[in-house]
């Protein structure tokens, strides 16, 4: 089955090799992948299969050793770190397993941070932060510090931070990994709502309960893509 609309993300023959003095590690091998705008994709596989590496390349935190990566029609595989940062701040929202909020900053400041890096004006930043917080239901905590919030609340703030700048794609790395089932469910609800609102989401998860929330699953094994349900993938 071929894709009728130009995909938001297209990977062709993408590989990532880590070199040390003695060993060459093929973290990813010849990945071909297309993700359309508005899709909700989950990535799963055993530990060490390359999920985080894939996410880091999708999020422009790292660059591939081989292959191509086109994001919203722009080739981004060979960008410099400075160029990657610029694209990343505009196009990518990260949600981490460990929340990774900055403890010294209030909720408002945490969410505002990526907008500052994009060079937005203060008034615009303020409006977007309020909107994002309202979306996750935590406007009343705007001046609190992360240490004053529960785990679930912190992760929702992290979601707000990731979505405030209206990125092209949301990347979530085990977003419920540090949460109990109730909070985890709340966060997953939130992601469902975002997807329903048109967000493109790529989520790494081990939890079988949440795998099926995505419309499509990708299975990695030893750095390679294996066939996944509902979408036809080419395996090199």
């Amino acid at each position: 089955m071929s894709l009728a609309i130009d995909p938001l993300i297209r990977l062709n023959g993408l590989s990532k090799i880590f070199h040390t003095a003695e060993v060459e590690t093929h973290a990813l091998s010849s990945i071909d992948l297309e993700i359309r705008a508005g899709e909700y994709v989950s990535v799963c596989g055993p530990s060490g299969c390359g999920k985080t590496t894939l996410l880091s390349i999708l999020g422009l935190l790292d660059s591939p050793s081989e292959g191509s990566y086109v994001l919203a029609g722009e080739p981004v595989a060979t960008l410099s770190p400075v160029q990657r940062a610029r694209v990343r701040s505009r196009a990518v929202g990260f949600i981490f397993q460990a929340f990774n909020l900055i403890g010294d900053l209030t909720v408002f400041k945490n969410i505002e941070l990526p907008l500052i890096y994009r060079g937005m004006a203060q008034a615009e930043r303020k409006a977007l932060v309020h909107e994002a917080l309202e979306r996750v239901g935590l406007l009343h905590r705007i001046h609190h510090y992360p240490a004053q919030l529960s785990g679930g609340q912190q992760q929702r703030v992290a979601v707000a931070r990731a979505t405030a700048g209206r990125p092209l794609v949301l990347l979530a790395d085990e977003p419920t990994g540090n949460l109990d089932s109730r909070n985890g469910a709340e966060v997953m609800e939130l992601l469902d709502e975002l997807h329903a609102g048109g967000a493109t989401i790529v989520m790494v998860t081990h939890d079988p309960r949440y795998l099926a929330r995505a419309r499509r699953s990708i299975y990695l094994f030893d750095g390679r893509l294996v066939a996944a349900n509902q979408v036809h993938l080419e395996v090199a």
């Binding site: 400075v82 940062a85 900055i102 010294d104 890096y117 510090y145 085990e174």
Partner: protein, 811 residues
């Protein structure tokens, strides 16, 4: 005890695993404790070591004072007061004198003192060999006895005990050695090496106009200082009333001997001790920061200890043991540094600082070093120890988990330490800067003469051989001729007191004013040969200098300096005016006027940092007869060389010996060297404070670097997150440097306040520089700011290279 030893053993084992940290701490401490102890040894030797006298607090120096100056006693004043006073058990006169000591060796001029027979009884010191003076040896003709100082006895008489009873010649006069004073008498008023008794004649005892005596008094039992002062005030008023011509407005002041001897050095030494103490504090702050980081890194170990039963006290003692082991090691090594420091200070310190040569690592200094070591250990060890002991163990065991990244910025204690370091460093830098500016200002001062190429030395004529004024002037004239004939001499002259030598003060009365003490202008007198101004290159501003025709029998003339011209003849041309001074006609009343024939430029005769005072010059051949007594028949030879002046010293000595083989030329040296030496104290303090300031700067930079570096390490994950969220390298760099700059700004604000307050204490050490000199303060702020920003920039660069992937690793 067992627990203490266990703690120490464990501390040593633990420190062995961190050799770099232990070594850097111990070396830093050794340097700082050693330097502090070395400076303290000087402070102790100069200010605190008991004077070699019994109960020094009971000994006083007495002065007579006029409204605007302090002066000595005349013989008559001393005799009258001594007869009437009751406050002092001993009330003894003394004055300096030098003698030509002849013997088998070459003749040597020796500094001596003429003292009352009770002098050593007053001091509470008895001779090590022989006996003290007897009361009857104060009578004229009975005083040909001498007590030798230990140093002279060893140097000149090979420590031969049989010197007692031997006859020696002082200025050609036979004197019997009656004893040798002990080596413990190592500090004397006039730096004298021998003592002879005063032998005042009845005429002298009735004289109230020549003031040259120093008077020492030991308070009688039960008499307080205020009682003694009150009695002296009363007797001063009696003198003024009884002898109005010589003592109008004169009063008597009682001063502490200790304060008189060391008071001038107190401020300078305390500033140095404070400065080196600041360096030690900065080092302690650095070490505290290191130990805080070490404590944080070992928090898991501490948590485990707590979990298995260690109480807060145990943890505190264990943490403190490490600090004290480090401090002890630093202290021991510091003694080595202190030893060499004391050697260097004694060797290179200014010669005129009293008792500097006696600075050593003795009991009190070692006790100070020990106390300092313990205190340092507590200062840098207590905060980290309290923090370690106060950690909640479950927090540490839970760490690495959930919430936001732990921020290095929020470690307030470390930030406070760095702020304190920067503040202290600014205070030190400012102090050093003020002294440097002072030294530069001093170096730019025109001394009023040209010392380059000039060599100077002293010649003293013994009274027994050169009794009359004619004999003295004839002898000095012959000396002058012989000196001028030495090959290589461009110009030779004689002067009764060259610049930087103690002169003779006289009261002058310009014509037109009333002839009494209230109208007199206190001026320094100099007897000179006609070529003196040319030799010293003192500019002649008006009129003429002296000629060979200005001799006995010719009209009396004088040359005055600008300062005296301004005071004696304000807004007038002084040439041709007349001044009365120094002598009167045979009737004892009519003044002998001297015509002012020339005005010369001011000379900074008392030192570059002292404003010129009124001075006048008289031709040597017209010297009043009494002037040879005032000058102790001593003249300074000042010779300008066509080449290296020092090379003339030997030929000059021989030229003087040709006139009289018994006459030594002493205190010989290049004039340039004397001028430099006169500023030795200022130069030395400036150098030391600059070294301490530089050390403080380096330590503060290390402190800033350390805190920022640690903060960056603690914030690695946060920085990774920021990069993951879009931060560029510049954003990260700016964030880290801003933190360092913030700490620096607070430290500078605190330091500026401290510097403004403390610099006033240095006011007496400064020359033509205000203690709040804005350029100095601004320079200190700029330098420290730049250093702090640089110190923060290095770890900032490292932070900017953080791999954002660390944000995704959940370890």
């Amino acid at each position: 005890m067992d627990a203490l030893l266990q703690n120490i053993r464990f501390a040593v084992r633990s420190l062995r695993k961190s050799p770099a940290l232990a070594a850097s701490v111990v070396l830093t401490l050794a340097l700082c404790i050693g330097a502090t102890a070395a400076i303290f040894s000087v402070v102790y030797a100069v200010l605190f070591r008991p004077l070699p006298y019994a109960d020094p607090a009971g000994i006083h120096l007495l002065w007579t004072t006029l409204p605007d100056m302090r002066g000595s006693f005349s013989v008559g004043n001393w005799a009258d007061v001594e007869r009437q006073q009751r406050s002092f058990r001993y009330f003894v006169p003394a004055h300096s004198q030098s003698f030509n000591l002849a013997g088998a060796d070459t003749p040597e001029n020796v500094d001596a003192a003429r003292v009352g027979a009770d002098y050593f009884a007053l001091l509470g010191v008895t001779p090590a060999l022989g006996r003290d003076f007897l009361a009857e040896e104060e009578a004229p003709g009975r005083g040909n006895v001498v007590l030798l100082g230990d140093g002279l006895w060893r140097r000149r008489f090979a420590a031969d005990p049989s010197v007692v009873g031997r006859e020696i010649r002082l200025d050609g006069q036979p004197h019997t050695v009656i004893g040798v004073m002990p080596a413990s008498l190592d500090y004397n008023l006039f730096d004298e090496e021998l003592w002879v008794p005063t032998a005042f004649t009845p005429v002298q005892l009735a004289e109230h106009d020549e003031h040259f005596l120093v008077v020492l008094g030991r308070r009688a039992p039960g008499v307080s200082v205020s009682q003694a002062e009150e009695e002296m005030r009363t007797l001063g008023r009696w003198l003024a009333t009884t002898y109005p011509e010589d003592n109008r407005d004169r009063s008597i002041v009682v001063a502490s001997l200790v304060e008189e001897l060391v008071g001038d050095y107190r401020t300078r030494l305390y500033v140095l001790l404070g400065a080196v103490g600041f360096v030690l504090l900065i080092a302690c702050a650095n070490i505290a920061n290191l130990l805080l980081a070490r404590g944080a890194a070992r928090s898991r170990e501490t948590a485990i200890r707590a979990a298995i039963g260690a109480g807060r006290g145990h943890l505190l003692r264990e943490a403190l043991a490490e600090s004290l082991v480090l401090a002890a090691a630093g202290g021991v090594l510091g003694l080595l540094v202190a030893y060499w420091g004391v050697v260097a200070l004694a060797a290179f310190g200014p010669e005129d600082v009293p008792r500097l040569a006696q600075a050593r690592l003795d009991g009190p200094v070692l006790a100070f070093a020990l106390g300092l070591t313990l205190l340092s250990g507590l200062v840098f060890g207590l905060a980290p120890a309290l923090r370690t002991a106060g950690r909640m163990p479950h927090e540490a065991l839970k760490e690495g988990g959930r919430s936001g990244s732990r921020s290095g910025n929020r470690d307030r204690l470390r930030n406070v330490l760095v702020v304190a370091e920067i503040a202290l460093a600014l205070i030190l830098l400012t102090g050093a800067g003020l002294l440097i500016r002072s030294a530069v200002a001093l170096g730019g001062v025109d001394p009023g003469f040209d010392p380059r190429g000039v060599v100077a030395g002293r010649v003293s004529l013994p009274a027994v051989t050169y009794e009359t004024a004619d004999q003295v002037t004839a002898a000095f004239s012959r000396v002058h001729e012989h000196l001028a004939a030495v090959p290589g001499v461009a110009s030779a002259s004689l002067v009764s007191a060259a610049p930087l030598e103690d002169g003779n003060s006289n009261g002058l009365v310009p014509e037109g004013r009333s002839l009494d003490i209230r109208s007199s202008i206190d001026s320094d007198m100099r007897l000179i040969t006609p070529d003196y101004f040319a030799t010293m290159r003192i500019p002649l501003l008006r009129g003429r200098g002296f000629t060979p025709g200005d001799r006995a029998g010719a009209p009396r003339v004088m040359v005055i300096n600008e300062a005296l011209a301004r005071e004696a003849f304000p807004e007038q041309d002084p040439i041709g005016k007349r001044i009365a001074c120094c002598e009167s006609a045979p009737d004892g009343v009519t003044p002998l006027w001297k015509e002012v024939v020339g005005v010369v430029g001011d000379v900074r005769a008392r030192g570059l940092d002292e404003e010129p005072t009124p001075e006048f010059y008289l031709p040597m051949l017209q010297a009043p007869a009494a002037a040879w007594n005032w000058t102790d028949r001593t003249m300074t030879v000042a010779v300008r060389s066509a080449s290296d002046p020092v090379s003339l010293i030997g030929p000059l000595r021989r030229a003087v010996a040709e006139v009289d083989p018994g006459l030594p030329l002493y205190n010989v040296g290049a004039m340039q060297g004397r001028l430099i030496d006169s500023m030795a104290q200022s130069r030395f303090s400036t150098m030391l404070l600059t070294v301490f300031g530089a050390l403080a700067l380096v330590l503060a930079a290390i402190g800033v670097y350390g805190v920022i570096s640690y903060g960056v390490a603690q914030r690695t994950q946060e920085i990774g997150i920021r990069v993951a969220l879009g931060a560029q390298r510049g954003d990260v760099l700016a964030m880290v440097v801003r933190h360092g700059a913030r700490l620096a700004a607070i430290g500078l604000a605190v330091g500026l306040t401290g510097a403004l307050l403390l610099s006033r204490l240095m006011e007496t050490l400064l020359f033509r520089v205000s203690p709040t000199d804005p350029p100095t303060f601004a320079t200190g702020v700029v330098v420290l700011s730049a250093v702090a920003v640089l110190a923060a920039a290095l770890p900032a660069r490292r932070a900017a290279r953080t791999d954002p992937m660390v944000a995704l690793r959940n370890e």
